[in-house]
């Protein structure tokens, strides 16, 4: 489903954030991406979202080469993704309900579907009673769950989550991860960036470990150890 072939990405100055990475992820797979701060995890997500273009190498998703998509095709491609951004990127001038509904409106879903799905997904992430709140009035963990609801509401084929439990307590983190696992069992490819060693080690999923833009290990049923 997702294939990276010798992909590198350098920002204007400094060393490459991603250096010559090749990997393959199957449909429905659940993958953790771990590594120190600055090791290139968010950059990898941004490349998959085509928010950034690789400096060299090729990214294939669903048999399509991301570099070669037209503007119209990029929009279409992004609609098949659900993304939880590390910085949430919620709209500060809209309430929780509108933030999630926004994701559906943008891709021109009909109103009846929005009215049905938004409450469903807000219940799923445990925010049914806060749908009228403004993001400013929410805790970090609550904002994170809004971001997750927004990523899930379109029922994406691929879910990219950049530290979706970074601001959650262990109980909430476990619940969210369980949910992501269920979603992947229904056929969605899930890629989760995390620092949470406890969860990674318990869940026994594939773990890709980055350091300074390079993959230092990639194991099925892996664990997250520092070395």
């Amino acid at each position: 489903m997702i294939t990276l072939d010798s992909v590198s990405k350098s920002y204007e100055k400094g060393k490459p954030a991603i250096h010559n990475i090749s990997l393959h992820i199957d449909k429905g797979e659940f993958v953790f991406v771990v590594g120190d701060s600055g090791s290139g995890k968010s950059t990898l997500i941004k490349l998959l979202l085509k928010e950034l273009n690789p400096s060299s190498g090729t990214i294939f998703v669903n048999g399509k080469i991301l570099n070669k998509l037209t503007r119209r095709q990029i929009s279409k491609y992004r609609r098949s993704l659900g993304v939880v951004f590390q910085d949430f990127r919620l709209l500060k001038d809209r309430n929780v309900y509108e933030n999630v509904a926004f994701s559906q409106r943008v891709i021109e879903k009909p109103n009846w579907m929005i009215k049905k799905r938004v409450p469903e997904v807000l219940t799923l992430v445990g925010l049914a009673d806060k749908y009228r709140s403004n993001p400013k009035e929410l805790s970090g963990g609550e904002q994170q769950r809004v971001a997750l609801a927004r990523a899930l509401v379109n029922r994406p084929k691929i879910l990219l989550a950049d530290e979706p439990t970074g601001n959650l307590d262990p109980k909430n983190s476990n619940e969210i991860m369980k949910m992501l696992e269920e979603i992947s069992e229904c056929g969605t490819t899930v890629l989760v960036v995390t620092h949470n060693k406890g969860i990674v080690n318990v869940m026994k999923k594939r773990v890709i470990h980055l350091r300074k833009g390079v993959i230092i290990s990639d194991e099925k049923e892996g664990i997250y150890v520092e070395n």
């Binding site: 119209r72 993704l81 927004r150």
Partner: protein
């Protein structure tokens, strides 16, 4: 704030456009009246026989591109109409006067030629001068030239003003949209990242531009409608002489039948152009 400025400039632009349009329409209307009243008079060489006179008439009528009417007035008819005018209804005196005199306008047989456009009158005069047997041509050169010069001046000045205001309107609308885009930059970025198409992102801004254009056109058009009505009423009551001379002015409905759709479309067009190209420039995400 910016959108108020755009609406105001746009309003001024459409107002001027409408004003000059109404002026121009009336002017053209008056010109047409004058044109059909002012003709050329063509006199012949003394003693020219009727056959040659007919030939000249034929050759004048051949210029169908310019000539609308060409009447022959014989010497007797000319004399009769002179007397009729002089004695003004006093038929007895006129009859007496006529009986006592030979026709002093023996040589005043002529053609009255009417043209479709005053601008072409000179061309026709030169043509007729070249015909054999033509002695003299009278034309109201002065009047025709003054009229067409004024008309041309009005048209040029109004065109220039309208173009300048048009450019300013587009610039201001573009500015309004730019501000709107930069305020919502973050939101637009997020929209694009979750799969919004360019059209979806652009549409609200383009609609905003068109709306500004529509409002900016509707306000001055309404104002013009009432102003024009007032002006016409005022002119026609104060200067009732004009009524006869000019055959009246164009009624407001006649002017707006054209001005209303053109004004509205112009407004929307300016709004569309101003916003469309601005948003294109800003949305190269």
């Amino acid at each position: 704030m910016f959108s108020l400025a755009s609406i105001a400039t746009m309003g001024a632009c459409i107002f001027l456009f409408g004003l000059f349009f109404a002026l121009n329409l009336n002017f053209t209307y008056i010109m047409k009246n004058v044109e059909s009243n002012v003709g050329i008079t063509v006199f012949f060489n003394e003693g020219l026989d009727q056959a040659s006179i007919d030939t000249i008439g034929q050759e004048i009528r051949n210029r169908t591109d310019i000539v609308t009417k060409c009447n022959y007035v014989s010497a007797d008819e000319a004399w009769e109409s002179y007397i009729a005018e002089y004695f003004e209804g006093n038929t007895q005196a006129a009859e007496g006067f006529k009986a006592n005199k030979d026709n002093p306008l023996k040589h005043s047989a002529h053609y009255e030629v009417y043209v479709n456009e005053i601008e072409k009158q000179n061309e026709l005069v030169n043509y007729i001068k070249g015909l054999e047997g033509v002695r003299n041509i009278n034309q109201s050169q002065q009047a025709s030239e003054t009229l067409s010069t004024i008309n041309r001046l009005i048209t040029t000045v109004s065109m220039l003003l309208i173009i300048i205001l048009l450019a300013v309107s587009i610039f201001l609308i573009s500015n309004t949209i730019s501000v709107g885009v930069s305020v919502r930059k973050e939101e637009i970025g997020i929209m694009k990242l979750i799969g919004a198409t360019d059209t979806f992102v652009r549409l609200p801004f383009i609609l905003e531009g068109i709306l500004i254009g529509l409002v900016g056109a509707a306000i001055p058009l309404t104002a013009l409608y009432f102003l024009y009505n007032q002006a016409i009423e005022y002119i026609l009551t104060k200067f009732s002489v004009l009524q006869n001379f000019m055959n009246g002015l164009q009624p407001v409905n006649h002017v707006f039948q054209f001005l209303l759709p053109v004004g509205l479309i112009l407004g929307m067009g300016i709004g569309f152009v101003g916003s469309f190209f601005t948003i294109r420039k800003h949305l190269k995400v």
